[in-house]
């Protein structure tokens, strides 16, 4: 093992009578790989040991308003059970870091104290002095194991504390210990970003050690199983000893292009403050299924500030999207759903596969940060306000349009991603949504180009394309944005939609359309125009063969000439031929007209 020598410091007992710790093998660098023998033995020993579900609860950090009279603690924790039958609770105490929910307790630190509360009632379990920053906690219903940063945030302190407040073990190490878990009186301690030590709380010895070939800094229980992970999730089973050779049971999220590089798990060794940061708002949420071998519901959820997106776990494609009034700050997945906590203190339980609201619970305050644990939630036992009868469910195209339609600059990256998704949907309404976005004056300018690009590639929704082409700039009617003519022309061409030809031809003669768009319209007409468009084509040709002020317009003139030759009679061919020889015809156009070979043979 690389790294410095492990150090195990004798437990100090701050008036609590803690158990003795041992200094020998825990975190040692001369550990010898036993081929997984000890791990398999431990797994066999714990296989029948029941893993308690975690308490389903949301906990928020609220800044206490300065009151008159007695000084109040700077913060208050507010808790709300997510399952029915629970009661709201609050607890005032300074908070320095992010509270942790573990098993049946909430662990938090602040003001030089570390304390634990009953997660469902907020009842204080114990309080003790502590200086380190809280990294994480595990709990099995009897013992809570807490990982803290060492002095100056170097190294780690690990405490095993019984629910009565007595310290059972205290370890100090120069290594970084992540978020621990507790099972069967063993503390599972992820450390150095790649190992998990199974530490016997009773004996104070390292019982087994797991090595992973990728970053692992968290241990936790979910759905009655024990997992380790950070980039992916390893299930604690008979194969976990083969994790370093990639033969263990591992779950990972598919590759995605979500903005902000959201992570399923942040490093368990990271110091997280009492106030939520950007990484809390840009995150991924997913849970293992009942067997622990795949993702529950085959979906995972991404948050990006006010937007939540459901994605297919196999393909990474967007399944649903919803927008909230406030930023999402935390979440936790459960069987069939996800609990998302926002900065306004609202916890929304939503279906992972459809995004439909299952229930909502309010913490009653604006929050500085939030922590959610939804492991124990089961359908039919949700607390809070049940979702009302949904009106007609919106299609994905409608959901995306609603999310893209609101203007907040920080949402642009996810809006651009969703626009790409909208462009690929088979639903003809997606074509209408893209047109609306391209036309709407409130659509952010940076998205208009994306909307037009997606619209160009549409191959259905012809009715909407034709309808949009009927729109023209009209100053008096306050229609101050011309339709996305170039994109509409490309789409009509892609659909071989001749019904769009009259409207396209009318745009050739509309000075409010950009020359670059007119170029696309003329190109489309070479394929889809009919004889009925010939009069407009002749007029366009006459007006611009000698006056086209830029390359786009010149290209449009040549396209129109091509269409005249293709659809017109001898007089049209003569018109083009005459133009090809007229000294007033602009040289680049003249040259290309000559290439059309319209001279009679």
């Amino acid at each position: 093992m690389k790294g410095g020598s492990a150090m195990l410091v004798a437990a100090f007992t701050i008036g609590c009578g803690g158990g003795q710790t041992r200094l020998d093998s825990v975190f040692s660098s001369d550990w010898r790989d036993d081929g997984g023998v000890a791990v398999r033995r431990l797994h066999a020993k714990l296989a029948s040991f029941p893993v308690r579900r975690n308490a389903p609860v949301a906990v928020g950090v609220v800044e206490n308003a300065p009151g008159g009279g007695l000084p109040a603690p700077s913060h208050m924790l507010v808790g709300a059970p997510l399952a029915e039958g629970g009661a709201y609770w609050s607890y005032s105490h300074p908070i320095d870091g992010r509270p942790q929910i573990a098993g049946s307790v909430v662990v938090a630190a602040g003001g030089g104290e570390l304390f634990a509360l009953d997660a469902l009632t907020g009842r204080p379990l114990w309080v003790r002095q502590s200086g380190g920053a809280l990294r994480g906690a595990g709990d099995d219903g009897r013992t809570t194991v807490v990982s803290l940063g060492g002095i100056g945030d170097t190294g780690s302190i690990v405490l095993a504390i019984a629910h009565d407040g007595s310290v059972l073990r205290q370890l100090e190490t120069p290594h970084l210990v992540g978020v621990p878990a507790v099972l069967g009186n063993y503390a599972f301690l992820p450390w150095q970003g790649q190992y998990v030590t199974a530490y016997d709380i009773s004996s104070g010895e390292e019982n087994a050690r797991l090595s992973f070939g990728e970053p692992v800094s968290r241990a936790f229980t979910h759905g009655g199983r024990l997992y380790f992970g950070e980039r992916g999730l390893f299930r604690f089973d008979e194969k976990v000893s083969q994790a370093s050779t990639r033969q263990a049971s591992r779950i990972a999220l598919p590759a995605h292009e979500l903005p902000g590089e959201p992570k399923w798990f942040r490093p368990g060794t990271e110091r997280r403050g009492a106030t939520a940061d950007a990484l809390d708002k840009v995150a991924l949420f997913a849970a293992p299924d009942g067997a622990g071998s795949a993702l529950d519901s085959d979906h995972f959820v991404a948050t990006y500030y006010k937007i939540a997106v459901g994605l297919d776990a196999k393909t990474g494609t967007v399944a649903w999207v919803r927008k909230h009034a406030s930023d999402f700050m935390a979440g936790s997945a459960f069987q069939g759903g996800v609990a998302l906590c926002d900065s306004a203190g609202k916890v929304t339980l939503a279906s992972t596969s459809t995004g439909a609201t299952l229930s909502s619970i309010s913490l009653g305050n604006n929050l500085k940060s939030c922590t959610v644990e939804a492991d124990g939630l089961v359908s039919g036992t949700f607390g809070g306000r049940p979702a009302g009868e949904d009106a007609a469910p919106k299609s994905l195209a409608e959901q995306i349009a609603a999310v893209i339609g609101f203007t907040e600059n920080e949402m642009l990256p996810i809006q651009k991603l969703l626009l790409g998704t909208l462009g690929k949907l088979e639903d003809p309404k997606a074509t209408k949504m893209l047109i609306d976005l391209a036309i709407h004056p409130r659509t952010p300018a940076l998205l208009v180009a994306d909307a037009e690009r997606a619209l160009s590639g549409r191959r259905n929704g012809a009715e909407y394309v034709i309808e949009a082409l009927g729109r023209h700039y009209d100053f008096l009617k306050d229609v101050l944005r011309a339709p996305p003519l170039g994109a509409l022309a490309d789409a009509a061409l892609g659909m071989k939609e001749s019904r769009a030809a009259p409207a396209l031809a009318s745009h050739l003669l509309d000075p409010a359309d950009a020359a670059s768009d007119v170029r696309h319209a003329a190109a489309a007409l070479t394929e889809i125009a009919r004889k009925s468009e010939l009069p407009q084509l002749r007029t366009f040709f006459a007006l611009y063969r000698t006056t086209a002020a830029d390359e786009d317009l010149a290209a449009a003139v040549v396209s129109v000439a091509r269409t005249l030759v293709k659809l017109g009679g001898p007089e049209d061919k003569a018109l083009v031929l005459k133009a090809a020889e007229d000294p007033l015809t602009l040289p680049p156009i003249k040259w290309q007209l000559a290439q059309l070979n319209v001279r009679p043979r």
Partner: protein, 297 residues
């Protein structure tokens, strides 16, 4: 960029410049008819000026030139324009030139020539240019249509009120006033509310009782220098179209503004009021000035 392209772009730019230099003169000549200038429109009460006599046209020679190269075409158009209505018979050749398309300079010249020698039957050849991508050509086309008159011209001018170019909208608004296009009254009010100032004077030229009241009611809400062009047009209209009572009420409304621009306008109006104009209105102007300035004019 290729050398050929550069030459082409330079040529296009030169031609644009040529049209830009040409069309203001065309537009200006039409604005006299439109009566957008308060001082000029007030003088309209004295009756329109007679057009200067045109030189007799050698239409055969002109027609020959119009079928030749660009420099001959330019000369032919110039001669036809100078000849005025006596060159009427070459109008079809000018139409043909416009239908086949020519460069910007000759297009502008052809439009103004057809306006001089043609009539409303020639409007169809001009209509496509009212939607040309070069705003100066659109303005030239609309000015020409205003001269040619007729239903097609009025429809094109109404449509051009919605143009994307402010200058084009202004020419269209002025043209509708000059053509007494009362059917465009509602559109002109919308245009006025959309900051097309030329709509005010046109409304002043064409409004009947209720629209005139509506226009005057905009005193105090529209910029004074804009609304005054409409008021001026109303005051210049004969008593058969707008009664003295209405004009007196209008003067009193201006007086009640009690602002410096209003007083300046009344002073200017007093100076411009023609001897043949209504004595009662003149009295109202005088009294308004006394009341608003507190001293005799």
């Amino acid at each position: 960029m290729q050398t050929g392209q550069r030459t082409w772009m330079a040529r296009a730019a030169w031609m644009l410049l040529g049209v830009a230099c040409l069309t203001p003169r065309v537009a200006q000549s039409e604005e006299k008819t439109a009566g957008t200038d308060p001082k000029k429109s007030a003088s309209a009460t004295r009756g329109p000026k007679a057009a200067p006599p045109s030189a007799p046209a050698n239409v055969t020679a002109i027609a020959e030139k119009l079928r030749s190269g660009p420099s001959d075409v330019r000369a032919g158009l110039t001669e036809a324009k100078a000849a005025g209505k006596s060159a009427r018979s070459v109008a079809p050749a000018v139409e043909e030139l416009l239908r086949a398309g020519t460069n910007l300079e000759l297009t502008g010249l052809a439009l103004s020539t057809l306006a001089e020698i043609g009539d409303e039957a020639n409007a169809a050849a001009i209509l496509p240019y009212a939607r040309h991508r070069v705003p100066e050509l659109r303005k030239a086309a609309l000015s020409a249509l205003t001269r040619l008159r007729g239903a097609q011209a009025r429809a094109a001018l109404r449509e051009a009120l919605s143009d994307s170019d402010a200058g084009v909208r202004g020419v269209a608004a002025g043209g509708l006033g000059a053509l007494k296009a009362t059917e465009a009254t509602a559109d002109l009010f919308v245009a006025l509310d959309h900051n097309v100032p030329e709509a005010a004077s046109s409304l002043g030229l064409i409004c009947t009782a209720e629209p005139c009241e509506k226009l005057v009611a905009k005193l105090g809400t529209l910029r004074f220098d804009v609304i005054v062009t409409g008021l001026d047009a109303i005051l210049a209209r004969p008593a058969g179209e707008v009664s003295d009572e209405f004009k007196i009420r209008l003067v009193e409304r201006v007086r009640d503004l009690r602002s410096e621009p209003a007083r300046n306008y009344l002073r200017d109006l007093q100076a411009r009021w023609h001897m043949d104009g209504s004595r009662r209105v003149k009295q109202a102007i005088d009294q308004a000035l006394i009341a608003s300035s507190g001293s005799p004019p």
